[in-house]
């Protein structure tokens, strides 16, 4: 197992895959998802993380999935904050996973 590189995807679909296919854009790149996915599932079906921690060098992939921990925040291209575990994925959605506060911290 490659211990350094991030995994291609984190979540594994175990069923309910007959749903209509949709496409979301993650940091400008297209990704496949299914209608009825939460945004968190749509993202983690195509990649290993949701965001970078603003307090460490690690990546984060959500934690509670019930809207309690706020670990899964991402942004849309208008800068609107989205809690991805409770936000439905919609066809054509455009998501940014690098948060402004992280960018600002790096510039400082």
């Amino acid at each position: 197992m490659d211990s350094k590189n991030p995994p291609e995807r984190r979540f594994v679909r175990l069923g309910e895959t007959e749903r209509r296919a949709i496409q979301v854009w993650i940091d400008g790149r297209p990704a496949h998802a299914l209608e009825g996915d939460t945004l968190l599932v749509a993202l983690l079906s195509s990649r290993g993380h949701l965001r970078h921690s603003e307090f460490s060098d690690g990546v984060r992939s959500g934690f509670c999935l019930m809207g309690a921990c706020q670990d899964c925040w991402v942004r849309d291209e208008q800068g609107q904050r989205l809690r991805s575990c409770s936000t439905p994925a919609r066809d054509g959605m455009r998501i940014l996973t690098s948060a402004q506060e992280v960018e600002w911290a790096r510039l400082a």
Binding site: N5, V12, L14, G36
Partner: protein, 461 residues
């Protein structure tokens, strides 16, 4: 009096049964829930377009789940239903809610809070890595999205939910590497007299463990978690534990589901200044209620896992009892004495079973004291056990809110939901004082983060 305004927070087992009791007596309550649908976490309904039947989704609890959903569907037109709505603050007779960025104030004569619970977490080195999830998260991803949290999953912690979710993963075709329980199996034997209060639930639990072993899952009890291994960029790659004899065992995996029973979501009760009591058996602070669900604040009732962690069946009984009590207190209808007695008896049985579970699967509080200084306690802001201990030893913070102010533990995104209990244990040990003297992280409004613009719009109306 005219039509009483009764608000219910939460549409899980407690909230739905409370609403039903009110509707039966001609009251139209407003029911607020953050979820898109009713059912709460335990009986969470899958989104439209998903087709798995009840038996597959809820296993042994399928009939109860279906009954609760049916009840809600029948109530739907006779309540004021506010889905995707967060109750974020509380003032006397006014519940502050926000939906889709729009704030609103709901006036009420009486409030029934059925706010449920989240997982209770004990930190372990590496639990901040991507791929480590709460046990509840592992179940939600399966039930609500038909996904496993990883290709190879380890379940670690303690409590019946550990075995339940692991067996649900196996049944759904996921690869479960191990179930690692911090509680020694001998404790279960000692707890049998209390667990026998609910023979059906006890039997279901035994069947789950047997089914896991049959499926070839590695089940270990009495373990001490050592580390969740991995790298900051990749996330989780394995787990190491020590067994009862001190031997180390390693498991490769890309996901860990971690959980140690539940903790109550009691922020609204805190904001309302309800009295709390220290529950020595579970080592946590819970709002004080009388046997019928009255809090110490007039007109405010608490039911379900948000106040007394006795599970879904207990929540259904407690929700109904709290609503009947509320109606009687408002002078709307005197409670049916026989039904009240029956509900109280049901709750007594649940309480006895809860005590048994705590004896069989104790919160391993000594593990908090033993965490290496480098362990991250607060995942949100990466505050370590060492920083917290320094706040105690050098700055004299022997009370948890003081420690929070000095080292930011519990100050981050989750507002102490996932670090608060372990942090209090660490402070107690470092200061050499009993846990109850450390206090609890105060609940404050907003109950969850929300944007200032939502409140600005609400204020302008």
């Amino acid at each position: 009096m005219g039509q009483a305004r009764i608000a219910i927070v939460g549409a899980g087992p407690a909230g739905v049964r409370a609403a039903q009791a009110l509707v039966e007596r001609g009251v139209r309550p407003v029911v607020v829930d953050e979820g898109r649908r009713d059912g709460g976490q335990i009986y969470r309904r899958q989104p439209d377009g998903f087709t798995r039947p009840y038996a597959k989704l809820y296993g042994t609890e399928a009939d109860k789940a279906q009954a609760l959903h049916r009840s809600f569907d029948q109530l739907r037109d006779r309540i004021e239903w506010r889905a995707e709505t967060l109750a974020w603050h509380l003032e006397p007779h006014a519940l502050h809610v926000v939906r889709n960025g729009e704030a609103e104030v709901l006036p009420f004569d009486a409030l029934i809070v059925c706010s449920g619970a989240t997982d209770r977490l004990m930190p372990v080195p590496g639990w901040d890595l991507a791929g480590c999830y709460s046990l509840g998260a592992a179940q939600i991803s399966l039930k609500s999205q038909a996904c496993a949290i990883g290709r190879r999953v380890v379940f670690m912690g303690t409590g019946p939910l550990l075995y339940l979710v692991a067996s649900q993963y196996v049944a759904a075709g996921a690869q479960v590497e191990a179930v690692l329980d911090t509680s020694a199996s001998v404790l279960r034997l000692r707890a049998l007299p209390r667990l026998a209060a609910r023979p059906g639930a006890l039997l279901n639990g035994l069947k789950l463990v047997a089914s896991l072993r049959r499926a070839g899952v590695h089940v270990m009890t009495g373990v001490t978690p050592v580390e969740i291994g991995g790298s900051p960029r990749r996330g989780v790659t394995g787990v190491r534990v020590r067994d009862g004899r001190g031997r180390e065992h390693a498991f490769e995996c890309d996901a860990v589901a971690l959980g140690y029973h539940l903790r109550s979501e009691a922020q609204l009760a805190d904001i309302a200044r309800c009295e709390f009591r220290f529950d020595a058996a579970s080592r946590q602070w819970l709002p004080r209620i009388d046997q019928d669900g009255r809090s110490s604040v007039k007109g405010m009732y608490l039911a379900g896992d948000g106040v007394r962690l006795s599970g879904a069946d207990g929540a259904e009984a407690a929700g109904r009892l709290a609503a009947l009590t509320c109606l009687a207190d408002l002078g709307i209808e005197r409670s049916d004495r026989a039904e009240v007695v029956q509900l109280r008896a049901a709750l007594d049985k649940m309480e006895r079973f809860r005590q048994g579970l705590l004896q069989a699967f104790p919160w391993p509080h000594r593990a908090a004291a033993a965490l290496p200084d480098s362990t991250v306690v607060c995942r949100c802001e990466v505050v370590t056990a060492g920083e917290l201990r320094t706040a105690v030893s050098e700055l004299g913070a022997c009370e948890i809110n003081r420690a929070k102010a000095l080292c930011r533990v519990g100050m981050g995104r989750c507002q102490g939901r996932y670090c608060g209990h372990a942090a209090a244990e660490i402070v107690a040990h470092a200061a050499g004082i009993p846990l109850e003297q450390v206090g609890r992280i105060r609940g404050q409004g907003p109950v969850k983060p929300l944007s200032v613009s939502a409140l600005a719009v609400g204020g302008a109306e």
